[in-house]
């Protein structure tokens, strides 16, 4: 498991998740900076993301949609607030039926050439957080179902 720590602050509505990867900082940065790589991990299982715009500059937009099992599309976007390749990225994350959360990503090199990634996600209100999971649902509930599927069956044997 690459996740090394998780800190949740309910009062500040902030999640800080730290991971360690056996890869260089430049390589991990490409997961965010290359839209074709981003598509492979952003959407939950069964909801692959298609990135239609990817302008990783301050004020730029990253636009995407996730395609569900019935072909329905869930659109979302990032508004880039700051970017410092290959180490730091900050953006607001939202969509037509989703709240805006603020996400920051920080990459740093560890001894041995591994990379530490710290993702901090925060939401303005509990309502904004809740909407992620119950907007008409499909996206939220199915995301939860997909994630639980992985938890129950980490080897993907079902």
């Amino acid at each position: 498991m690459p996740v090394t720590s998780v800190v949740k602050d309910a009062d500040a509505r902030t999640l800080t998740i730290t991971a360690r990867f056996d890869a260089s900082v430049e390589r991990v940065w490409r997961l965010w900076s290359d839209p074709r790589q981003l598509e492979r991990w952003w959407g939950p299982p069964g909801y692959p993301a298609t990135v239609t715009e990817h302008d990783l500059v301050p004020g730029g937009t990253v636009a995407y949609f996730m395609t569900g099992p019935d072909g329905e599309q869930h659109h979302g976007w990032w508004r880039v607030r700051g970017v410092d390749p290959p180490r730091a990225l900050e953006f607001d994350d939202g969509g037509p039926d989703m709240p805006t959360g603020a996400i920051s990503v920080a990459l740093s090199e560890l001894a041995g050439g591994d990379t530490q990634m710290i993702v901090t996600a925060s939401w303005e209100s509990a309502e904004a957080m809740r909407r992620i999971f119950d907007t008409g649902t499909d996206a939220g509930m199915t995301a939860a179902v997909g994630q639980i599927d992985e938890l129950l069956d980490p080897k993907g044997t079902t």
């Binding site: 498991m1 690459p2 996740v3 998780v6 949740k8 309910a10 009062d11 509505r13 999640l15 998740i17 991971a19 990867f21 056996d22 890869a23 390589r27 991990v28 997961l31 790589q37 492979r40 991990w41 952003w42 939950p44 299982p45 069964g46 099992p69 990634m117 993702v119 996600a121 509990a126 957080m129 809740r130 992620i132 999971f133 119950d134 649902t137 499909d138 509930m141 199915t142 995301a143 939860a144 179902v145 997909g146 994630q147 639980i148 599927d149 992985e150 938890l151 129950l152 079902t158």
Partner: protein
């Protein structure tokens, strides 16, 4: 979907591209996590989201943690298979 109204397990199975047995397993996991409640109506088991629970910030952060853990696992898979 289950947050807004009750659904039977077989109805949920129709809505998602997974088997009845898999939905049943998912619902069981959600129930143990306190996220849904199940009630029996005749031969059918119906499922409903526990909105009060879902609304607590602690619970939401747990859900968001799960979302990000999934993303980070997929990131590692991408790193392994460029």
């Amino acid at each position: 979907m289950v947050l807004h109204e009750q659904h039977s397990v077989s109805d949920l199975a129709r809505r998602y591209p997974i088997s009845f047995a898999a939905v049943h397993k998912h619902v069981g996991a959600l129930e143990r996590a306190g996220l849904v409640t199940k009630t029996r109506h005749g031969r059918e088991q119906r499922v409903r989201g526990d909105v009060a629970t879902l609304r607590s910030a602690h619970r939401l952060l747990d859900e968001l943690e799960t979302l990000w853990r999934g993303r980070i696992d997929r990131m590692e898979q991408v790193l392994e298979c460029p």
